[in-house]
Each structure stands twice: as C-alpha cells, then as structure tokens.
C-alpha cells in the first residue's frame, strides 16, 4: 500500500503538481431491515478504491478508481493531472491552501463491542422480537426495524509528508410503526429513537443494546394508533413551542450547520445546495440567537457521528465555537476557504463520501450546548404552548433562512401540563428570529448526541454522517400550523 501511495504522489509531483494527496478507502457496510415480522433485507457491502487530488497550474484536479493496481494508479494520476490542467482554463486565481499540513498519526473509534463480530443471529433476533412487540398493538399496518453498521478504513498521504490512518466504526438502529385509516385518509407514523429509519453514532454494538428497542416498541405502536384519532394541531400566528432533542438536533443541522459551511458562504455550492445568509460581514458581528444559545462544531466528542481523528485533508479533528452567547463567531472551513477568508488554519471539516468523491466541507458534530432546565420544570413553566417531537418533514430555503418542519407527534401544553395529543403539527420561521426567541434550554441530563446519517450535498452527490448534540428547548412566538 505504502509503495503505491508514494508512487502516486511522486508521479504527480514529477509531472507538475504543486500539491497532491491520495486517499485509499475501504468501507464495509452491513444492513439488516425487518418489516412486518419478516427479514426484508440482509446485506453486506464492501467498496474500496482510491482518489488522487492534485493542484496543477494553480487549479484542482481529482480522479479515482476502484482498482488499486500500479497501472491503474498511473492512469488515475495522469487523469487527475489532465483534469487540473483543464480546470486551469477558467482559473481566476491560483488555489492557496496555506501552510503545509504534515499530520502523522492513527485514529480508531473506541468501541466496546465490535458490531461486525456480534452474531447476525443476535441482531436479527433482537429486531424480530422488537417487531413482534410492535405488531402486538391493534391497528398497526406496517412495522419496521433496522440496524446499520459501518467500518471505514482509510489512509491519507500527501506531498506535504502527511500520513494518517483511521478506522471509523458506526452503529445505528431504529424502529417505526405505521397506522392508517382509509376512511379518513389518515396516515401516521411513530419512530424510535429517531425518525428517518434510525439513530446512528460512532460507537459499537453497545449502542444498540442501550437503545432498548423491544422495551420501547409497545409505546411507539400505541402512539401511532392514537395519532389516527388525535386532534389536528391548530394553527397559530405566534405560539410557544418546546422541541424535543431529536427535532432540535435536525433544526440545528439545517438552520445552523449548513449556513456555517464556508464553501456555501463563498458561493461554491450556489448551483446545488445553495448559499448562506451568514455572509462574511456577519462573522463576529451578528446576533444569531439569544444569549443562552451556544453552538460548537466538535469533531472530538465521544460517540458523535461526525467524530474522527483527522479530516480528509489530514487536518486534526477540532472543537470550534460557532455561536457564543448568541453571537455568530465561527465557520466550518477547509484549507482553501480558510485562506480565502484569512482565518489561518482550517478547522478540519473536509470529508469525502468514500474513495470516489472529492472532500468538501461537511458538518462534524454541530451541537447546541445544554442549558440549565429540567424538562419537567420547563413544561411546568409553560402556560400555553405545544410540545413537538420526532421529525416528520423538513424544508429550508437555499440561504437557510425560511424553514418549515413537521413532527410525528405533538402535545398541547396548558397550565404547565401536557393535556392533548395533536397530529400533523408543523412550525415555520426565519432562522435568526427563531433562535433569538429561544428562552430556555434543558440541561445536560437531557442532552443526547443524535446522528444524521443522510446529509446530502455536492455534485456528484455525497452523503455525510453528522452528529448533533441537543436537549429540549423552548421558543416563543413561533408560527405553528399551515395545514388547514
């Protein structure tokens, strides 16, 4: 392996690259899906290959291949060089990636139980047992359960003498129950521990056991059935809402995580993912949220789905302040974008979705730091409001300002108590107005690092796995409901 990577880098340099790096990646994925008492999917996928990134004539080129053979490496390096030369045809300025990064080291996700060693029978058995619990509840039409495990091994080397090896392990699981009523045309779903199929973290199989899927199945199914006949969530122009941790994690992801990606800010995602309202003039000069809102980007937090040792430019994992006491103070950066804004060294957020994709700026762990409230106290302190939990739909504009979310379930809060279940709840707002209306955040006892294993960005499309720590929080004067 070392011979091949060294040869690729030497070849690139000799043929005119001012910089080159190579990533060799092997990713093993195991997925088990159970539906209505039957194992619907049981598969294991392995993909391996390498990607070569070069700068020639001040412009980038990238090529990749699944065939890690000497001749193919030579072909791919040649292709990357040719692509860089073509890129230079429209160049306005030479790429500047700042001071060399010569990281050396290794990183392995700490796990107690390697998920790839745990017997398939155990995994299938747990999902089937959970599915049986879901189906015990009368009125359920479709039950689902899934587990996903990832082991990604990668080696990064560069012409700046960086050499980094990592092994990232992820474990994820989730269940859901779908209830329908053809007479009313109602379809309701409840999920646990998160929507979208599963919650996922960088931990071992111990995470799966901690979720107690079977123990939660009955409640999940009962909620789904109850939602069919629950009252429609009313519409309000201005209402107090409390979001549970999982919904708030997605709110952070969409309305803070994406707009702080400096590539978006500088326009390089404009045609696809969009741009950002957090323009450079707002850095250190913009009130993003209320005083109690503190947000970090943290690639070092234990178990976070965006936790690693080094990013895909070889930059060590870091923790960076993004919003401090409500003020916007930081972006997610790459080596190139950090130079473009004069921010010094990258804070290490460049990640690629496998060997065949170019690293781009991705969220690591973008976390809303815990506040001081206990959940019970927060509800008791709310005279008139709506509790909303577990995401059902999400949408936000291309500058990350105007958002609308729906949740699987909601509860009316009257006089400090949850009183009535609501279905089809939605809320909408403008990002900074919303975060400035936050007046209470629950404490660390309620703080969970949620995983988002499906963040899409880039062309060709890339899926990133990101983490978001959050605890329930309260927001005032929020528009609720657009569904009549």
């Amino acid at each position: 392996m070392k011979d091949i990577t060294a040869r690729a880098l030497n070849m690139a340099q000799i043929r005119g690259a001012s910089y080159a790096d190579i990533r060799v990646v092997t990713r093993l994925t195991q997925r088990i899906a159970v539906k209505n008492g039957k194992v619907e999917a049981l598969q294991q996928d392995e993909t391996q290959g390498f990607g070569v990134r070069v700068i020639v004539n001040g412009a980038w080129g990238f090529a990749s291949s699944s065939r890690l053979e000497s001749k193919e490496v030579e072909r791919v390096v040649t292709q990357a060089l040719a692509i860089a030369k073509a890129s230079a045809l429209t160049k306005i300025k030479d790429v500047n990636i700042g001071a060399p990064i010569a990281s050396k080291g290794t990183y392995e996700t700490p796990v107690k139980l390697d998920p790839f060693i745990v017997a398939l029978d155990d995994k299938i058995g747990l999902l089937l047992k959970t599915d049986e619990e879901l189906r015990r509840v009368k009125g359920i039409k479709v039950t689902r359960g899934e587990m996903a495990f990832v082991r990604e091994s990668k080696e990064f080397a560069s012409t700046e003498d960086a050499l980094v090896r990592q092994e990232i392990i992820e474990s994820g699981c989730g269940i859901s129950a779908l209830a329908t009523d053809l007479k009313t045309g109602e379809v309701q779903v409840r999920s646990y521990p998160n929507a979208g199929g599963r919650n996922q973290v960088t931990r071992g199989y111990e995470f799966i056991l901690d979720q107690k899927l079977a123990e939660n199945a009955g409640r999940v199914a009962e909620d789904a059935v109850a939602l069919l006949t629950a009252d429609q969530c009313p519409s309000y122009d201005a209402m107090t809402i409390i979001l549970d941790g999982s919904q708030l994690a997605l709110q952070v992801h969409e309305s803070c995580g994406h707009p702080i990606e400096l590539d978006r800010v500088l326009g390089t995602e404009a045609a696809f993912a969009g741009t950002s309202f957090l323009t450079p003039d707002k850095l250190n000069n913009f009130r993003y949220g209320a005083d109690i809102v503190n947000i970090t980007a943290d690639a070092t937090i234990a178990g976070g789905l965006g936790t690693f040792g080094f990013d895909d430019e070889g930059v060590p994992a870091q923790k960076t302040d993004i919003v401090r006491n409500g003020m916007f103070v930081g972006y997610l950066t790459s080596r190139e974008t950090a130079q473009q804004l004069g921010l010094g060294q990258s804070n290490g957020t460049m990640r690629a979705d496998g060997w065949n994709r170019l690293p781009i700026i991705r969220m690591t762990g973008v976390n809303l730091l815990p506040g001081t409230w206990r959940v019970d106290d927060l509800i008791a302190d709310t005279t008139d409001g709506i509790w909303m939990e577990t995401n059902r739909s999400w949408s936000i504009d291309d500058k990350r300002l105007n958002f609308q979310f729906g949740t699987e379930m909601a509860w009316e809060i009257k006089g400090g108590k949850k009183t009535r279940m609501f279905k089809n709840a939605t809320y909408t707002g403008i990002t900074p107005q919303f975060w400035n209306s936050c007046d209470a955040i629950c404490n660390v006892d309620h703080w969970v690092v949620w995983g988002t294993p499906n963040c899409g960005k880039g062309q060709p499309p890339q899926i990133a796995h990101t983490g978001h720590g959050a605890s329930p929080a309260r927001f005032r004067n929020v528009r609720v409901g657009v569904v009549k």
Binding site: F62, S66, L182, G267, E269
Partner: protein, 446 residues
C-alpha cells in the same frame, strides 16, 4: 467500458462457483466525470471509474445479498461466500417463490460514444462559455457539467442475461446577480447536443430580470410552472403513490381509486423504460423486461408499478420495476412521462391575469403522504404575472400545497416536453410546463 462479453464472463464465474439453489448477479460498471464551476471558474473537476457486483443467493426460501467493487476472481469468491453466509443465517421468506425466468428483452439504443469519450477539455470549454457570458453580463455563474457512461448487467442462474449501456450528459447552471438568480439545465444522451450558449442565455436573462425582487403576500395564486418545477410534482407522486407497495400498505391515494377520476382529464402520466427519448433501461434489476405502465390516463387512475414481490401478492405479472435486492423501497418508476397538452407556453402565460411564474422548486418534502401535501420553496427565478405578462421579480415563496390538488387544478399543459435527470436515483423524467390554479403559498423569504 467492459462490454457484455467481459461482464458475462464475470457473471458466469459466479454461477459456476455458487452452490445456491438460485443465484442472481447485478453488475454496474460506471465511468463518470463532472466539472463543477462557481464564481465564474472551475473549482471541482472529478472523474471516477467503478465496477460493482451484487450477488443474491437463494437457499430454499432464505436469501442473502452481498456486494463489492472488487471484480478479481478471489474477491468474487469472497462476495459469494459472504452472501451464502448471510443466507444461512437468514429466516425463510414465505413470500419468495423464485427468481424470474428469462423473457425476451427489447433493445433500446441510448448509448452515445461521444458522451462516453468526453474529455475534461470539452467540459471545460462548455463551462468556459457559461463563465465568459456571465462575466460579460456582470453576473456570477455556478453549476456542473456531468458526462457518464454506465453498463448494467442483470443475470441469474435460471438463464436471465440482460445487458444495457447508457450515456448521459447533464449541464446545469445558476446565474446570480446581487439580488436575483436564474436557472437553466439540459440533459441528453448525447453530450454534443448540449448547447452552453443557449443555457447561458436562458439563465442570464432570468438572473437579470430577477434583480430587486418585491415581496408578495402568500396566498392562493395561479402559477406558471416551468418544466423544472413540474418534474418535482412527478417525483413526489411517484414516491407517495405510484408504487404497488404504497397501495398494498394503504398509504397511496390510488388505493381503491382505480378506474376513477383522480386528476384533471387532460393529465396522462405513464412510465416507459423503453422510450428512447428518456434515459431508457429496458429491464429492471431482477432482469424482468420493463412494461409501459399507464399510471393516470386522462385523469383516471389506471395502474401502479410492480416488482416480482408485489406482483406475486396480487397474482399479477411484474411490470419490470424492481430496484436492486434487497429492496425495502418497493417497485419504483424510473422513466416517468407527463404527456404534453396542446398549449404553447406563450399562450399559457397570456391566459394568466394575475399569478406567479415559478422556475423551479427547492427542498420539497412530504407533509402528508395520502394527500401528497408538499412543502417547499421557489428558487432561481420567481416572477409576478399580470395581465398575461411577466411584470416584476418577487422574493422566493414557501408553498404548502397538495400536488394531487395541483393536477386537479390544471389550467393548461404545455405543448412540448423536456427531459430531466435526477442524480440520486438515476431516474429520468419527461414533462411539459403547466399552468395551475389555486396553488397555495404559505410564506415568504427575506
């Protein structure tokens, strides 16, 4: 490109090694390149070569699937062994009967050598035109130009061997001024058909007209939906309603409505993987020939797409719409067409007294599946229409409206269709522009 003979050798090697009762092999060989530009220059320029093998083995009614992108004989053995080991630990699937037997498959020519042989210089040249025209007009260009060639083989031990190559080129751009933006895109099997000058004109014209937008109050409006927006309507109807699995699970509005009118009588929607003016693929990922499936005919619910599993449940034949195993999504329409009407776009516009011109939708999501209630935003060219003319740009709006209602409230369908490619699912769509009454906007952006 590996070609059918090499891919057949690989499949046959797996069959010769497999001790399963039945074995299926899917091979996908991809050569793809994409040149991405922003701020009037190329900033990402990538190429990829990948070959994937997916093996499904059947022991009795126990099924295991494994995949790899290593096609060496040793790796193929390992992949087969992994699939076998998984199947041995799998529970029996009482619904499974058999992999499909061989059936005649029609040939559809959608592979163009010139696209497969596209060079970085050719892509850079087209991108250069967009960047140059943008600079000349004082706007900023962003976008991507992709050229891709894919070979697919689906084979099984019952004698199915289906091979299909396809190419496509897709150039899209957003042109931005300080206060407005415009969008244009073009997809074709043949990269030589991509006209960068025409796309530059379309997007720049829109970006310039979109400057200094006004705020319009949300509410119900008649909308002129460009083809870019209409394709989103088809995508979500497909996700929510056009799969047999959705009907079987009581979550599709088509349930119990077959033979009944569910949309305006001028609306006809079908899926046709054999149509050479789409990115056709004449068989599905079980090797079953694709049928043309009429989904909505003159507003009447006619059918949904099936794979082998959903078809067996109903005692009908698969329509050839399986995704690769193991497939939890169910059958999926990948080549949908909304039939054109007979109204030129200029006349559609003239018919609107007061309304909104929408170039495209953004970040659309299902709020309620049975109603196909969707929320999302407009993007890259939203304008006020007054007395049959586009009068001024407006700030992007959020909508929360039923796409099913939209196709019941059709005012006119355009007389020509445009081809689209969707990168995530590799699906293509062909749609006309639409004029729709009572489209519900629920918010504005800043």
């Amino acid at each position: 490109m590996l070609g059918p003979n090499k891919l057949s050798e690989i499949a046959n090697l797996i069959f010769s090694l497999s001790k399963a009762d039945q074995t299926e092999v899917i091979l996908r060989n991809t050569d793809s390149a994409l040149t991405r530009f922003a701020n009037n220059q190329i900033h990402q320029n990538v190429a990829e070569s990948d070959s994937q093998v997916r093996v499904r083995v059947v022991y009795g009614k126990r099924i295991g699937v494994a995949s790899s992108n290593d096609l060496s004989p040793d790796a193929l053995k390992r992949t087969l062994e992994t699939a076998r080991a998984i199947a041995q630990r799998q529970r029996a699937d009482p619904e499974f009967k058999s992999l499909p037997p061989p059936q005649p498959i029609q040939n559809v020519e959608v592979f163009v050598d010139a696209t497969a042989q596209s060079t970085p210089e050719q892509r850079a040249q087209a991108v250069g035109i967009l960047c140059k025209r943008a600079k000349e007009k004082g706007v900023v260009a962003a976008g991507a130009f992709e050229t891709t060639a894919i070979e697919t083989v689906v084979a099984n031990s019952l004698g199915v061997f289906a091979y299909h190559p396809v190419t496509y080129a897709d150039l899209n751009t957003v042109m931005m001024s300080d206060t407005g933006s415009g969008y244009a895109s073009f997809t074709h099997q043949d990269a030589r058909q991509v006209n960068a000058e025409a796309l530059a004109r379309e997007a720049i014209d829109k970006a310039l007209r979109a400057r200094n937008p006004i705020t319009l109050d949300p509410g119900e409006y008649t909308v002129f939906l460009e083809e870019y927006a209409v394709t989103d309507i088809l995508d979500f109807l497909n996700y929510a309603a056009f799969s047999a699995q959705a009907v079987q699970e009581d979550r599709s509005f088509m349930k119990g409505k077959f033979g009944q009118k569910v949309m305006d009588e001028r609306v006809t929607i079908y899926d046709d993987g054999l149509a050479s003016d789409t990115l056709a693929m004449p068989f599905d990922f079980e090797g079953v020939p694709r049928q043309k499936v009429m989904l909505i005919e003159n507003g009447i619910a006619r059918g949904v797409v099936h794979d082998t599993t959903t078809a067996q449940r109903e005692g009908v034949a698969s329509t050839g719409h399986a995704l690769p195993a193991p497939n939890t999504l169910g059958p999926f329409a990948l080549h949908m067409v909304l039939s054109p009407g007979n109204t030129p776009k200029s006349e559609m516009l003239k018919s609107i007294e007061r309304g909104i011109w929408v170039t495209r939708f953004w970040y659309t999501r299902i709020v309620h599946p049975m109603k196909v209630l969707i929320t999302g935003l407009t993007r890259d060219g939203t304008f006020l229409i007054e007395n049959g003319e586009v009068t001024q740009p407006i700030k992007n709006l959020r909508f929360t409206t039923s796409y099913l209602d939209a196709l019941n409230n059709v005012r006119a369908l355009g007389d020509a269709t445009k081809l689209f490619f969707e990168g995530w699912s590799h699906a293509s769509r062909r749609v006309p522009a639409l004029a729709v009454d009572r489209f519900r906007f629920t918010g504005t952006t800043q």
